[in-house]
């Protein structure tokens, strides 16, 4: 597999074999992610260009780099603001790519990562481009599912904003390559667009839709919860009603499969009650941790370091 110096822009750039390859490498690196020491990336520098706030993505990249013996360059928030006013992203990339061995970027415009790749002399890893892609989130989701459940023959329910949510579109795309049985759970106004559903089916997923979360809880392996933004509901009473219907509490878990796991890309707001946190089904904090081995895997791959 030829990954060295390749940009990581969208999940659509990956075949299933390539995804498996990344997941396998993350499995190898997980012990280091848990606190080991390594010199795998000694002498390498990762630049973090975040034009928008991020905690998990930015910090887990930093951790991944530091635990592998590499260094990081951070664009301070002050610099970011001054750049927004003047210098183009293109110029920034041309400069920063001469200082670093790879760049992780988050930028508010869709397509910004692809454009950055055109100007960069080092690999660009997309850490989110507006409503576009966030491939490292999808990879850590897949890793979590494979580790804590299973990717073959998977019954997964995905709950929340399926219309606009980029996480969901990219995750369902990847799962379709594994032939997953996907149940889409959302309020009617936030259903997944028909075009995306058709694409998923064409790629091998089985897709069903419902508005009723409770009725499907006992027939799934993974419950993937996402946040629904208040702004999508102009009427506050509508929002309240919806928020109640798409919230999971410990009472909902009585009849679920023993092995069923609950995931969430975080931050959660109301969707998962804190009573669920201590149940044997909760995996959202592990999921967040798995961002580290996945990002370690990607960094070693794009920097051309064998593991």
């Amino acid at each position: 597999m030829r990954f060295e110096r390749r940009h990581i822009i969208s999940m659509k750039d990956f075949t299933r074999d390539e995804m498996d390859y990344i997941l396998d490498r993350a499995t190898k690196l997980e012990p280091l992610a848990r606190g080991g020491r390594s010199d795998l990336l000694a002498g390498k520098i990762l630049a973090l260009l975040f034009y928008e706030p991020s905690t998990r993505t930015r910090m887990s990249f930093e951790t991944a780099m530091l635990r592998l013996g590499g260094g990081v360059l951070n664009l301070g928030s002050k610099e970011a603001t001054s750049i927004v006013k003047g210098e183009t992203l293109a110029d920034m990339i041309r400069v920063v790519s001469t200082y670093s061995d790879a760049i992780v970027q988050r930028h508010p415009s869709e397509g910004s990562a692809l454009m950055a790749a055109e100007f960069s002399s080092v690999p660009i890893i997309n850490g989110g481009d507006g409503a576009g892609h966030h491939p490292t989130q999808t990879l850590l989701d897949l890793y979590t599912i494979r580790k804590e459940s299973h990717l073959d023959n998977l019954d997964i329910a995905i709950v929340g904003d399926l219309k606009y949510g980029r996480t969901v579109h990219s995750l369902t795309y990847a799962l379709s390559l594994y032939g997953a049985n996907i149940t889409l759970v959302s309020p009617p106004q936030l259903k997944m667009p028909d075009q995306i559903k058709a694409d998923l089916k064409a790629r091998g997923a089985r897709v069903r839709e419902t508005e009723n979360l409770e009725e499907i809880l006992d027939s799934i392996d993974v419950l993937y919860m996402t946040r629904i933004q208040k702004e999508r509901f102009p009427d506050p009473t509508e929002y309240k009603k919806m928020a109640g219907a798409y919230k999971i509490t410990i009472e909902h878990l009585e009849n679920v499969r023993d092995s069923m796991i609950i995931m969430h890309p975080l931050p959660r707001v109301y969707e998962i009650d804190s009573s669920v946190d201590t149940s044997s089904h909760a995996r959202y904090f592990e999921q967040s941790f798995y961002g580290v081995p996945i990002r370690m895997a990607l960094l070693t791959i794009v920097m051309g370091v064998e593991v």
Partner: protein
Amino acid sequence: MSAEKELRVRPIRDGTVIDRILAGQAMNVLKILGIKGAYSDVVTMAMNVPSKELGQKDIVKIENRELEEKELDKISLISPGATINIIRDFEVADKYQVELPEMVEGMVKCINPNCISNTKEPVISKFEVKKDPVQLRCIYCENIIMENIAEHLL
């Protein structure tokens, strides 16, 4: 030549006839060719002309001009079936159908205001072209333009 024919069209000595334009698109073809108010040569436009093949079609005839590649590409986006007839010395010297390119660069503005191609960044819009019906997919933000393509031409 019958009196009726003479009234409707004056033959061109040299120029281009754009025939079989999708009915309703003639004005957009003129726009693509930059023909607005003042123009030095003779231009004739016919709309909703009965046509055996198409039911109805539009036609644009321009004297003393042959079209550029970029103009032909733009016409293909709004009317993929249009034919180009090169007229020399009153005769049709060459005839071909416009051809949809696989990719168009710097020709169309993305409909997504949040697309990187709509910022001050030094980036030229690029779209993948699909046919039947014509669809333009922005390679940056993946938004698709299917309707009123003429309105998004740069």
